[in-house]
């Protein structure tokens, strides 16, 4: 029985199976990796060389047609990108405008003592010596000469001239503008003047008053030009000279006048024109 089992044929098969199983075990356990890599790498190199040559050959014949197709597709995609970019820009503009309007709305809600008309800034003064803006609301929207103009940040100016659908606003930075203010901490009143360069200065502060840098300026309501308690700016520097009655200082306005895009006009405030009483 055993002699039948170990015939030369079976013995040969058994040895082959054992060798195969042994090689597989060695391969799976990683002992044959150097052998494989040594023997396979020439094959891979040859395959790579052949593949590259084929691709080069294939490109040589197919590329003109593909290039034309790609160019068309590229042009289409570029058009789509341009279209989407313009849509993104338009949406971003709408979003920015909405943000501004929401902020203005919040301001109007938190200051219910006034009635407001929102307007968009559509232009600026031609002369570099004057600081004015043009808005897209006029007498048809209930605006009148002298009405104060604000943003959510603070005081902007007042209506200087208007037509049916537009109005010109004199900014508080204009050289001919003066705003009566009170200093919140110091508790005294002063005058904020504009200038030809668009900077604003604090004036008429009594020389014996101690003014802190950063003190907040709000409209005092004196003079009847602006309603009281609207933010104007913060004191940046103060200087007082000898033998003068008042000290002066520079002011950082709370409103960024270079980026004004929307404003609120206070429509229920009647400014008082005291110019006939000024000597």
């Amino acid at each position: 029985m055993i002699t039948k089992l170990f015939t030369p044929k079976n013995l040969r098969n058994l040895i082959i199976i054992m060798v195969v199983v042994g090689v597989l075990v060695l391969a799976f356990s990683g002992y044959l990796t150097p052998v494989f890599s040594f023997s396979v790498s020439p094959l891979i190199s040859a395959q790579s060389w052949l593949s590259q040559r084929y691709l080069a050959f294939s490109d040589f014949f197919n590329s003109p047609r593909d290039m034309a197709t790609l160019r068309v597709e590229n042009a289409k995609l570029q058009n789509e990108v341009a279209l989407l970019q313009s849509e993104i820009v338009a949406l971003q503009e709408n979003l920015a405008q909405s943000d501004i309007l929401y902020t203005l709305l919040d301001f109007a809600r938190t200051n219910p003592e006034h009635e407001y008309v929102a307007a968009t800034v559509v232009g600026r003064e031609i002369s570099p010596y004057l600081q004015y803006i043009i808005i897209d609301k006029g007498s048809n929207d209930g605006l009148r000469h002298g009405m104060p103009v604000v943003t959510q940040q603070g005081l902007v100016g007042r209506i200087d001239a208007l037509i049916s659908d537009a109005a010109r606003i004199q900014l508080i930075t204009d050289a001919n503008s003066t705003v009566n203010v009170k200093l919140q901490t110091a508790g005294v009143e002063g005058l904020v003047r504009g200038s030809v360069t668009g900077e604003i200065t604090l004036d008429m502060v009594p020389v014996d008053t101690e003014v802190q840098i950063g003190d907040i300026l709000m409209t005092s309501g004196l003079g009847g030009t602006y309603p009281p308690n609207i933010f104007v700016g913060q004191v940046l520097t103060m200087q007082s000279k000898q033998n003068v009655l008042f000290q002066t200082g520079s002011v950082q306005p709370v409103v960024d006048f270079s980026n004004l895009s929307a404003v609120l006009v206070i429509t229920n405030f009647d400014s008082v024109d005291i110019s006939p009483l000024v000597p």
């Binding site: 559509v122 232009g123 600026r124 003064e125 031609i126 002369s127 570099p128 010596y129 004057l130 004015y132 043009i134 200087d160 001239a161 010109r168 004199q170 050289a175 001919n176 003047r193 200038s195 030809v196 360069t197 668009g198 270079s258």
Partner: protein
Amino acid sequence: MWSYLIGFAAFLLTTMLQMSIFSQWKILSGSADIILLFIVAWCLHDRNKRLWLLVLIMAAFAGTISALPAYIPLIVYFIVYRVSRLFQARLMQSPLLGMLVLTFGASLLQIVLNIAYLFVIRVDLNFTDALVEVAFPSILLNMLLAIPVYVVVREIALYAFPKGVEA
């Protein structure tokens, strides 16, 4: 008639560009006045006898928009008009030189009138700031933009005056 319409339409476009864009392009506190540059360039191109009528309309328009009194643009634009007539007669071979000289002169005149107006209405004016921060940068910007505006106006003038314009 055609030239008046084109001239006034171009003037309106220039005014819109000035109010929306160029008034915000600043060096220090000075800005360019492309309305003035347009009028200088247009006056150098237009040989029409009734150009003064268009200049009058433009001045009235600019005077209405601006917070400056209307007589300031009126004076400046009419002086530009008169001097451009002299230049057309005597500096025909070098209109670009005429453009630069007129731009400089008109800018200077406009600044002098602006400062004079502020002085008259008793604005507390710092002359050093008015010159260094506003006047000089404005003149510089006007001079820089003079040639581009001249070139654009020349292209427009080709449509307005088909018989030919100055080179």
